[in-house]
C-alpha cells in the first residue's frame, strides 16, 4: 500500500545517508512539525471554530458558508474600527488627556452650534430615547462627526492634520474592504466562471461531488438525500423546459414577451411606489421630531418594503415562465436591488432636505438654520437604521420563529401543516447582513464608532442565528451549493460596497460641509482638504502627485487598461478554440483505435 512502500523506502535511505544529512533531515522534520503545531494553534484561535464545525456537521456546507461569511464581516468591521480609532479618535483622546499639548481650533462659529444635550433634571426614559434615536447626550460624544471639532493638532514635534486624516481614513477603509473582498472572492470567481460558461457539468457534479462526506447525523443524511433528489429532479425538469422553449412557436413567444413586459412594468411601478413612500416618510420624520416613532418612520417603511417585495417578486416570477435556475437568480437580483437602493433613496431624500432652503439658493450650500450640523443628522439616521435592523432581527427570531416552531410541533391543524417548519433561507439572510454592512460603510464617515457597533451587532447575530437554526429550522429543500454561494455572497457584498461608495463620494465632493462642527470647518467641501494639503508638500512630491492626477495620465492609464483587457479576452478565446480542437481530436483518436 501507499504508506508501507514509502516507509520501507525511507528506512532504507536513512541507513545509507551520512550523519550530516541525517541531522539536516531531522532538523527539517522538527521545523515542519513546529510549523504544523503553530498553524494548528493559530487555527484554534480562529473565532467560533467549534460552533462552525458543529453547524457544518449538522447542516452541510451551504449554511456553513453563511456563518463563515458572518465571521468575515465581524473581522472586517473590527479592522475598520481599529483604523478609525487609531487615526481619528486616538489623537483627540491624547489631546484631551494630556494638557501640555497646544491645539488649534479653527472654528469661529463654535458658539453658534447649540448643544442639543438636555439640560436640568433629565428623566430616565429620556436617556433611553436618546440612546435609541442617537440624539441628546449622544450627540456630544465620540459617536458622531460633530464632536470632532478639531482641525489640526500640534504635538510637541509634529503637526497632525486631523481633517486630512479623517478623509484619508475614509478612503482607506473603503479601499481595504474592496481589496479584502476581491481577494476572498478570487478563487470562487475563477471556479464560477468556468462552471457557468458551459452548464455542461451539472449532472456530473451532483452525482460525484454531491454527497457531503462530512455528514454523520441520520437526520442530516436523509435531508441531504432528499435535497439531492430535489436537485436532480429540478435539473431534469430544466432539461424538459429547455426543450419546450426550443419548441415554442412564434405566437407563443410574442405572448410570453408581452406578459414579461407588463410584469416588469408592474415591478418597476412597485419599486417606484416603495421609493416614493420612503421619500415621504423621511421628509415627514425630519419635520416632526417629537415622538420616537416618527424618528424611526423611515426605518419602519424600509423594513416593511423589504418584507413585502420578496413575497411579491416570488409570486410574479411564476407567471414569467423562465427556467427554474434563472427564476431563482432573477428574483434574487430584484431583491438585492430593492434592499440596497432603499438606503440610497433615504440618503437622497435627506440631502434634498438638507440642501433645500426657503428662498431658492442656500448661502452656505446647505440649510444652516435647520441643519447646523447636517453630517451628525445623517449619522443619526444611519445609527437609527442599524439599531432598528438589529431590533427587527431579534424580534423576528423571538416573536415569529419560536412561536412558529411551537405551533407546528404541537398543533395539528391544516394551517400549521401548510405553514410548515421554518427553513433557513440563505439568500434572504445574506441580504439582511449585506444591507447592514452597506449602512455601516456609508455611515462610518458620519458616525466613526458605527463599525464598533456593527461588530457587536454581528457578534450577537451569530449566536441568535445559530440558536434559531439549531432549534427552529430544518435545512432548505432548495439547496444552495457551497461554491456558488461563496461567490454569490461576495458578489452581493461588492454591489453593496459600490453602492456605499457613491453617497460617500457625493457628500465628500459635492455637498458643502457644515461650518458649525466637524473637522472640515473652513473648507468648502470635505474634499478640499486634500488639494490644500498637497499644495503644502515640497515641490518634488507635489509635481509627482499633480502629474498623477492630471488628465493626460488618467486617459493613458485607461487606454492601457483597456488594451490589457482586450488582450486577455482574445487569449481566452484562442484557448477555447484550442480546447475544442483537442476534444475533437480525442474522439477521432479513439475512433481510429
Amino acid at each position: 500500500m501507499f504508506c508501507n512502500f514509502f516507509r520501507a523506502q525511507r528506512l532504507e535511505e536513512a541507513s545509507k545517508l551520512s550523519s550530516w544529512k541525517q541531522w539536516r533531515q531531522s532538523t527539517q522534520r522538527t521545523l515542519r512539525r513546529l510549523r504544523d503545531e503553530a498553524q494548528e494553534w493559530l487555527s484554534s484561535l480562529k473565532l467560533w471554530r467549534a460552533d462552525i464545525h458543529q453547524i457544518e456537521g449538522m447542516f452541510g456546507t451551504g449554511i456553513l458558508s453563511y456563518f463563515s461569511f458572518l465571521r468575515f464581516l465581524v473581522m472586517l468591521n473590527l479592522i475598520i474600527f481599529l483604523l478609525m480609532f487609531s487615526f481619528v479618535m486616538l489623537p483627540i483622546i491624547i489631546m484631551f488627556t494630556t494638557n501640555v499639548i497646544l491645539f488649534n481650533i479653527w472654528n469661529p462659529f463654535m458658539e453658534l452650534y447649540p448643544s442639543s444635550a438636555r439640560r436640568g433634571l433629565v428623566i430616565f426614559h429620556e436617556h433611553i430615547t436618546d440612546l435609541l434615536s442617537g440624539g441628546g447626550f449622544l450627540e456630544q460624544t465620540y459617536l458622531f462627526y460633530g464632536f470632532y471639532q478639531v482641525n489640526q493638532i500640534h504635538f510637541p514635534n509634529i503637526k497632525y492634520n486631523l481633517a486630512l486624516a479623517y478623509l484619508m481614513t475614509t478612503i482607506a477603509y473603503l479601499f481595504l474592504s474592496l481589496i479584502w473582498i476581491v481577494k476572498r472572492s478570487a478563487l470562487g470567481f475563477k471556479r464560477n466562471l468556468v462552471q457557468d460558461e458551459d452548464r455542461f457539468q451539472s449532472f456530473c457534479n451532483k452525482i460525484f461531488a454531491g454527497w457531503d462526506f462530512c455528514i454523520t447525523n441520520e437526520n442530516a443524511a436523509s435531508l441531504k438525500r432528499s435535497s439531492l433528489l430535489y436537485e436532480l429532479r429540478t435539473d431534469l425538469e430544466e432539461e424538459r423546459i429547455k426543450q419546450k422553449i426550443a419548441d415554442r412557436t412564434r405566437k407563443e413567444k410574442c405572448r410570453i414577451y408581452l406578459i414579461r413586459f407588463i410584469l416588469n412594468i408592474f415591478v418597476i411601478g412597485v419599486l417606484a411606489g416603495c421609493f416614493y413612500s420612503i421619500y415621504v416618510a423621511t421628509i415627514f420624520s425630519q419635520e416632526h421630531v417629537e415622538y420616537l416613532m416618527y424618528e424611526y418612520l423611515p426605518s419602519i417603511v424600509i423594513t416593511l418594503a423589504n418584507f413585502i417585495t420578496p413575497l411579491l417578486f416570488s409570486v410574479i416570477i411564476n407567471f414569467e415562465d423562465y427556467s427554474p435556475a434563472f427564476e431563482i437568480r432573477f428574483t434574487l437580483m430584484r431583491c438585492v436591488f430593492m434592499r440596497l437602493t432603499s438606503i440610497g433613496v433615504l440618503l437622497f431624500s435627506l440631502w434634498s432636505q438638507i440642501t433645500h432652503c426657503k428662498d431658492e439658493t442656500c448661502i452656505c450650500g446647505y440649510n444652516h438654520e435647520l441643519y447646523s450640523c447636517w453630517e451628525t443628522r445623517v449619522g443619526q439616521e444611519m445609527y437609527k437604521l442599524t439599531v432598528f435592523d438589529f431590533i427587527i432581527i431579534v424580534a423576528v427570531t423571538i416573536f415569529v420563529e419560536f412561536p412558529r416552531k411551537l405551533i407546528v410541533r404541537h398543533c395539528d391543524c391544516g394551517l400549521a401543516k401548510w405553514w410548515g417548519q421554518q427553513e433557513f433561507s440563505i439568500p434572504q439572510n445574506v441580504l439582511e447582513i449585506v444591507y447592514g454592512q452597506t449602512i455601516c460603510w456609508i455611515g462610518t464617515f458620519y458616525c466613526p464608532m458605527l463599525p464598533a457597533i456593527c461588530t457587536i451587532k454581528y457578534f450577537f447575530i451569530f449566536y441568535i442565528k445559530k440558536v434559531s437554526l439549531l432549534k427552529n429550522c430544518r435545512p432548505a429543500t432548495r439547496p444552495f451549493r457551497a461554491s456558488s454561494s461563496n461567490f454569490f455572497f461576495l458578489a452581493v457584498l461588492l454591489i453593496g460596497l459600490a453602492l456605499a461608495c457613491l453617497p460617500v463620494s457625493v457628500s465628500v465632493a459635492q455637498i458643502n460641509c457644515s461650518q458649525a462642527c466637524g473637522p472640515f470647518v473652513g473648507y468648502n467641501t470635505s474634499w478640499e482638504v486634500l488639494p490644500t494639503a498637497v499644495s503644502e508638500l515640497p515641490t518634488g512630491v507635489r509635481s509627482v502627485i499633480e502629474a498623477l492626477s492630471s488628465e493626460a495620465f488618467a486617459v493613458s492609464f485607461f487606454v492601457v487598461t483597456c488594451l490589457a483587457m482586450f488582450y486577455v479576452i482574445a487569449l481566452a478565446g484562442a484557448h477555447k478554440k484550442v480546447i475544442n480542437q483537442l476534444r475533437e481530436q480525442l474522439v477521432l483518436v479513439s475512433l481510429v483505435k
Binding site: 500500500m1 501507499f2 504508506c3 508501507n4 514509502f6 516507509r7 525511507r10 528506512l11 536513512a14 522534520r29 515542519r32 512539525r33 504544523d36 503545531e37 494548528e40 464545525h53 456537521g57 456546507t61 471556479r191 464560477n192 468556468v194 462552471q195 455542461f200 457539468q201 451539472s202 449532472f203 456530473c204 457534479n205 452525482i207 460525484f208 461531488a209 454531491g210 454527497w211 457531503d212 462526506f213 462530512c214 455528514i215 454523520t216 447525523n217 441520520e218 442530516a220 443524511a221 438525500r225 439531492l228 433528489l229 436532480l232 429532479r233 431534469l236 432539461e239 451549493r481 457551497a482 461554491s483 456558488s484 476534444r583 480525442l586 474522439v587 483518436v589 479513439s590 475512433l591
Partner: protein
C-alpha cells in the same frame, strides 16, 4: 511534545507524518480509534508492526462512515485485496486521503476507485446506475435514472466510448467546484 508514548517508535511516527497528512497527535488519536473498533484484535503496542486487520463490518459502523451511502466501497478501495479488511496503515491512508489537506489529484484517484463498482477501471453505465441508486436510496424512477446516467456520460465522456475512463473522470473532477469540500471526512 513531552509525553512518552510507547505505541509507536519515533521513526514510525516520523514516517507516518511524512506519508500522510496527519500530525503526530492525530496519528496517535487515530490509533486510539482503530483500537476502539476491535480492542481484542488490535494491540496497543505497534512498535514491532503487528499484522492485524479489522474486518469490514466493524469499520463501516464507525460514526463517521455510518451514514455514508458509499461506506462499503470506500473501505474496500483502501484494502489490499478489495475485501474491506483494513490494517492500521490502510486505515490511516483512508482518512489521510479523505482529510482536508489531501490534494485534488489524490482524491480523484480514490474517488474513481470508489465509484467503480465492478472494478474494471471504467465507470460504465451500470456503475453510474448503482451510484445514483445508492445516493437517492432508489427513489428515482427507472426512466429518470436512465436519463440522468445518459446525461452524465454525455457530459463527461471525452473519447466517445460511452463509459468514463480515469482521464475523463479526472478532467471532469477538475471542473467540479464542490468536490474538494464534499469529498472530505473529518476525524
Amino acid at each position: 511534545m513531552g509525553n512518552k508514548q510507547t505505541i509507536f517508535t519515533d521513526e514510525q511516527l516520523d514516517a507516518y507524518q511524512d506519508c500522510t497528512f496527519f500530525t503526530r497527535k492525530e496519528i496517535l488519536r487515530l490509533h486510539g480509534r482503530y483500537h476502539e473498533l476491535a480492542p481484542h484484535l488490535v494491540p496497543m503496542d505497534y512498535t514491532n508492526e503487528p499484522d492485524c486487520k479489522v474486518p469490514l463490518s466493524l469499520i463501516v459502523n464507525m460514526p463517521e462512515l455510518k451514514e455514508n451511502p458509499f461506506r462499503n466501497r470506500i473501505v474496500e478501495s483502501f484494502s489490499e485485496g478489495g475485501d474491506g479488511n483494513l490494517s492500521f496503515n490502510e486505515f490511516v491512508d483512508m482518512f489521510s486521503v479523505l482529510s482536508e489537506m489531501a490534494p485534488r489529484e489524490l482524491k480523484a484517484i480514490y474517488a474513481f476507485k470508489i465509484y467503480d463498482f465492478n472494478v474494471d477501471n471504467f465507470l460504465c453505465k451500470e456503475d453510474l446506475e448503482k451510484t445514483l441508486n445508492r445516493l437517492t436510496k432508489e427513489e428515482l424512477t427507472p426512466e429518470e435514472v436512465e436519463l440522468v446516467c445518459d446525461k452524465t456520460i454525455e457530459e463527461a465522456d471525452l473519447d466517445g466510448d460511452n463509459k468514463l475512463s480515469f482521464a475523463d473522470f479526472e478532467n471532469m473532477i477538475s471542473r467540479a467546484p464542490d468536490f474538494l469540500s464534499t469529498f472530505h471526512i473529518r476525524i
